[in-house]
């Protein structure tokens, strides 16, 4: 790792100001992605700004019909939090299936969403539930957030402060994990929301997306049978040493059927 400066500001404004003042800064939350990136010299920032000492980025609260989760909340905290378990059980379960226990004790939801790894788990829940991503500047709707491979709607230096998820008790997440890292080779989150059934896919494409054909079919008849006849195209899906695009396309349907069966 190259040398860099490190600072732990106590407020969001200070963190943003320090980012602004630096030529080449990056934030660090859990560091589960950033520290390996620094080791491999894939990033060589001059300044690393730690968000972990900012109290207002922490905590989980019920805000009307939304569960609001601070960006610095770890996967382990989300998996075991009483409010999350009671109001969005599928989200708690998803968080409890990320990586391994040590990764879950450090990695944060804000870091995961800022990083937007195509194989990350939260994006499927964010899209299916129609979450809102709050930053130090604005609120971004889930549908506008994921832009490209490892690219989000966040501006340079913009800080995710919290994420609000609508309460949803009828939902399920199924993933086919990479056996080494537990990242999703494909993952499907299905939710019965007030706006209808939502089906969101992660791991399979460059970024998470909704599967509209399955949503329409499940809105008509919420059963495994109603999506069984759908052919998922492998157009634009990821292809790597772990799985081909057509394998991922097939996984999307298999996982969607499992999720529907788990809900029914």
């Amino acid at each position: 790792m190259y040398k860099f400066n490190f600072a732990s500001p106590a407020t969001i404004d200070d963190a943003a100001a320090q980012f602004e003042a630096s030529d080449d800064a990056t934030y660090i939350s859990g560091g589960m992605t950033l520290v390996p990136t620094l080791k491999q010299r894939l990033a060589m920032p001059s300044d690393v700004i730690d968000l972990s000492k900012i109290a207002s980025l922490k905590g989980i609260s019920l805000d009307g019909d939304m569960v609001k989760i601070g960006a610095m909340t770890t996967h382990a905290q989300i998996a075991s939090d009483g409010l999350v378990v009671a109001n969005i059980p599928a989200l708690a379960e998803l968080a409890g299936g990320i990586g391994d226990a040590s990764v879950r004790n450090r990695g944060t939801i804000g870091g995961s969403l800022a990083n937007s790894d195509p194989a990350a788990d939260y994006p499927a829940a964010v899209l299916a539930l129609g979450a809102e991503i709050h930053t130090n500047k604005r609120t971004i709707a889930a549908a506008d957030y994921f832009v490209e491979l490892f690219e989000t709607a966040l501006d340079e230096g913009e800080i995710i402060t919290s994420i609000s998820f609508p309460v949803c008790k009828v939902a399920n997440y199924q993933k086919f994990s990479n056996p080494a890292s537990r990242y999703a080779i494909a993952g499907v989150f299905i939710a019965k929301t007030s706006a209808g059934v939502r089906v969101a896919v992660t791991g399979a494409g460059p970024y998470a997306f909704r599967q509209n054909e399955m949503e329409a079919a499940l809105d008509g008849d919420f059963s495994a049978k109603s999506i069984d006849g759908i052919t998922v195209s492998d157009d634009g899906l990821n292809e790597d040493i772990h799985a081909s695009a057509s394998y991922r396309a097939n996984l999307i349907k298999v996982l969607a059927i499992r999720a529907v069966e788990a809900i029914s």
Binding site: K3, F6, V35, G99, A101, S102, S181
Partner: protein, 164 residues
């Protein structure tokens, strides 16, 4: 630019001036001489560097010392007294839970972290499946895991229910 950090390591306060790019595991091994925490993969995959940070198992090869400023660190060296092993260490000895021993400090720390979490949540003894899931991030290239699971089960029993 060096940073001043203060942390507690196995109950002793440690203050030092460190570069920001120093990993916690290197600081423990090179600066404090605590070589029980091992580095194998150095890429956050294998868990041999697992220790307890504020009571929670974490991978110290993926953590900067400056991130641990103000925290409480427990390593494998912090478990036994002069004469008596920690129940989790004793369980690994009793159940032949190791062969070369390289992964063992990480396994022991991950096991203790799981038991303490269960104690806090009041969730009782772990099943074998729960033990395996808690050790997901710890790789052993020797034992085939069965005896590690047995060891952690015994360690959990002694920790939660006392001798017997």
């Amino acid at each position: 630019m060096a940073n001043n950090v203060s942390l507690s390591v196995n109950g002793k306060s440690v203050s030092a001036s460190v570069e920001a790019n120093v990993l916690l595991v290197d600081f423990l091994r090179d600066n404090l001489g605590l070589t029980g925490t091992n580095i194998a993969c150095d890429t956050s995959q294998c868990g041999s560097c697992t220790l307890l940070l504020d009571g929670l198992p974490v991978k110290s090869c993926s953590l900067l010392v400056v991130q641990a400023d103000g925290c409480d660190v427990i390593t494998i060296e912090g478990l036994a007294s002069e004469t008596v092993l920690h129940p989790m260490q004793q369980a690994f000895q009793d159940n032949h839970g190791l062969q070369c021993g390289f992964c063992t400090p990480g396994m022991v720390m991950a096991g203790i972290g799981m038991v303490e979490r269960r104690r806090a949540a009041g969730s009782g003894l772990p099943s074998d499946e729960e033990i395996r899931s808690a050790l997901e991030g710890n790789i052993c290239r020797c034992t085939g895991y069965h005896n590690i699971v047995k060891s952690v089960a015994q360690g959990a029993k002694t920790m939660l229910q006392g001798e017997g």
